[in-house]
C-alpha cells in the first residue's frame, strides 16, 4: 500500500519535467524578449521490505517488521538564452566553464596516470635483465 502511494507520488512529481519547465517565462526588456532555456531532470528511488520473525523454532509466527527508505533529486541546468528582437530570434548558449575545466583537469590526471603506467611497463620490458 505504502509503496503504491509512493509510486503514484513519484509519477505525479515527474510530470513536472515538461516543456514549461525547460522554457522559462519570457521577459521583455525594451524591444527585446529574453527566454531562459534549461535542461530539467528528476530522479527518484525507494526501497521497502517486510519480514516476519520465526518464533519457537518456526512453529509459531513471531513479530512482524518492515522498513524502507527513499531519495530523489531535481536538477535544472541552464543551457541557453533565446533573445527575440523585432528583427530576429537568436540563441545564446550558456557555457559552464567550471564544469568544462573540471572535466579537463580530470582528463589530464587520467592521461598522466595511464601514460606513466604504460611507459613504466614498456620501459621495464626493454631494461637489461640482471645476471
Amino acid at each position: 500500500m505504502i509503496d503504491e502511494q509512493i509510486l503514484k507520488a513519484m509519477t505525479s512529481i515527474q510530470e513536472a519535467a515538461s516543456v514549461k519547465q525547460a522554457f522559462g517565462e519570457p521577459r521583455t526588456v525594451g524591444d527585446r524578449t529574453i527566454i531562459p532555456v534549461a535542461a530539467i531532470s528528476y530522479g527518484f528511488g525507494f526501497g521497502y521490505g517486510r519480514g516476519t520473525e520465526r518464533g519457537n523454532g518456526g512453529t509459531t509466527p513471531g513479530r512482524e517488521g518492515g522498513g524502507g527508505g527513499g531519495g530523489g533529486q531535481v536538477r535544472a541546468r541552464p543551457v541557453a538564452v533565446l533573445e527575440v528582437t523585432p528583427e530576429r530570434l537568436r540563441v545564446e548558449p550558456i557555457v559552464d566553464a567550471s564544469r568544462i575545466a573540471l572535466a579537463g583537469i580530470a582528463l589530464g590526471a587520467w592521461s598522466v596516470f595511464w601514460v606513466t603506467a604504460t611507459v613504466r611497463k614498456v620501459a621495464g620490458r626493454r631494461a637489461p635483465v640482471p645476471r
Binding site: D3, I6, L7, M10, T11, Q14, E15, A17, S18, V19, Q21, A22, F23, P26, T33, I35, V37, A38, A39, I40, S41, Y42, G43, F44, G45, F46, G47, Y48, G49, R50, G68, R77, V79, A80, L82, V84, P86, L89, V91, P93, I94, V95, D96, R99, I100, A103, G104, A106, L107, W110, S111, W114, V115, A117, T118, K121, V122, G124, R125
Partner: protein, 86 residues
Amino acid sequence: MRLGDREVVPLVEIEVRAPARARGGPALALAYRRAMPVAVIERRGGKERRVVIPDATGQAVRGIVAVGAIVWIVLWIVRRRWSNDR
C-alpha cells in the same frame, strides 16, 4: 508561445523511465525523467525557421570524456603490444 507578430514553438526531448517494481518480495523502484530543449521553430509571416539550441557545456564534457576513452584504448593497445605480460 506568441511574441508580437511571430510564434515560437519550443521542441523538447523528454526521456522517461517510469517507476516500476517487481511483484512480491522487497520493493525497489527507480524512476527518472529528463527534459532537454532541442530547438525552437519560429513562425513569422508564413515562413518557418528552425533554430537549434546547442548544449555547449554538455558537448564539451562529452568530447573530453571521448578523448579520455581514446587515450585509454590507445595506451591499452600499447601495453598489450609492447609489454612482457603476454
